[in-house]
Amino acid sequence: MISAESTAIEIAAAVASGAVSAREVTQAALDRIDRLDAKLNCFTGVTRERALAEAAAVDAQRALLLKSAAAGAGSVALPPLAGVPYAVKNLFDIEGLGTLAGSKIHRARPQARQDAVLVARMRAAGAILLGALNMDEYAYGFTTENTHYGATRNPHDPNRTAGGSSGGSAAAVAAGMVPVALGSDTNGSIRVPSSLCGIFGLKPTYGRLSRRGSYPFVGSLDHLGPFARSVADLALAYDALQFADGKDPAYSAPAIEPALPRLQEGIAGLRIAVAGGYFEENAEPVALDAVASVARALGASRRIDIPETARARAAAFVITASEGGNLHLPDLKQRAGDFDPLTRDRFLAGALTPAAWYLQAQRFRSWYRAQFLELFRDCDLLLAAATPREATLLGQETMSVAGREVPTRPSMGLLTQPISFIGLPVVAVPLHRPGKLPIGVQLIAAPWQEAVALRVASFLEKEGVVSAPVASLALHKLGS
């Protein structure tokens, strides 16, 4: 009844009805992790004891509610994610564990004294934390090839990358280990692995979800968000995560705005266009075909060119290097050799960036954002590929994009970077084609309009254009 394919909504309903206990759901998920993770390397830590304790608490809560209910047996009103397993990128604080952020250096840091805000939100919603997930060191990468903790493998083809930097999060969801995971997105780190692992991912508006208790990368660009295998699960998790937090300096959401109740509103009246120019010039035919499929299903024939997008990507690159380098300067001075060789020289170079370059990039950001926001006067949603192509092989140093050979690790974010640069909300939706690797499309909305992007994603899912089946390779070849 409850399997690797079950959605969070199905699990929560089954737990609430008593068809299955939270403990049974949790044990089954732990068993799947035991079977699959040795091959995929998604988890850097499994919180077995905590998970079983949280599951017991949910079961006890249900028993108590049943006892107090005059009606006797049946569904009880449990929190929305009661009994739903999830896991988090290992830059989220988990009480009692060290927050690694993919590094060796942070092993020496004290254990977290409390959960990150979003972990606490998931716990309050009844979700069961199964562990911490692999990532590129300090989130600086798009492939989750981590020298300290090994590469996370793509469940659709274990010889390929899962994308990054939240690769452990996306691969764990795609493999059916958990129905929901949390990650971070600074330049594309939710949308890139969503695309390459073939699942749904939400990068909310900059300032929407509290980042307190998560290890930063680039404060100006850091976002947190959920992954899932259905749009309703994505919305359910997103709604549970919303929380007015004055202690995150970037938090600026106008209100708590639940998306799940609006999911079935359809696309009538929405003005949808395809992002042209830069977004089409930096994509392979497979990515352009995916965008065309989505545009066709939505009846979107308009094409909008967004000027100066190559420069926007350049500015995001400079800001990332500079802020990331500055953040790690004390460790770069004292123990540069302990960094992952895949990030070390990038952080060192970034730390040396002149202020004039950084400030020009930040001012350009204001300019570009103002131009982009003008577009939303007569457009509600933009479409662009999430990655220039499907997953590359592990260790592959370069890849072909539109006839050019480009370095793989930074270039997987070519199409996501200009969007997170100005903080717009995006849902990445996956397209699966028989016998081929999945690829994702970005549904880009105006600031604070996550619900619009989720509505469109839900419409596409109902139309059968996008979907996120559990990776069959993981089930068949690695044993389910």
């Binding site: 508006t205 900059y206 300032g207 100006s220 970037a250 600026s252 106008p254 100066e308 190559a310 420069r311 350049a314 500015a315 690159f317 400079v318 290097a321 300067l329 770069l332 001075k333 540069a336 050799g337 070390r344 020289d345 990038r346 060192l348 170079a349 970034g350 730390a351 040396l352 960036t353 002149p354 004039a356 370059w357 400030l359 020009q360 990039a361 930040q362 001012r363 350009f364 950001r365 204001s366 300019w367 954002r369 926001l373 939303f376 903080g423 105006a446 600031p447 604070w448 309009q449």
Partner: protein, 70 residues
Amino acid sequence: MTPTQKELLYADIEFMVDASAVALGLTLDAGHRPGVLLNFERIARQAHALMEFPLSDEVELAPVFSHDQC
């Protein structure tokens, strides 16, 4: 219009990296230096595209969306 930043030569990159490292008290390991130079050159190339873009004096940093921007 102000003159644009010139394309940096490799010697310029080396000079900037070494001088900035001194200013920050950062001792670059000889084994790390080639990778740092390569990455600094990448940043410089991106920065060059930015520095040649004219911005009016009124454009300032504003990282957070205001509530009426939707």
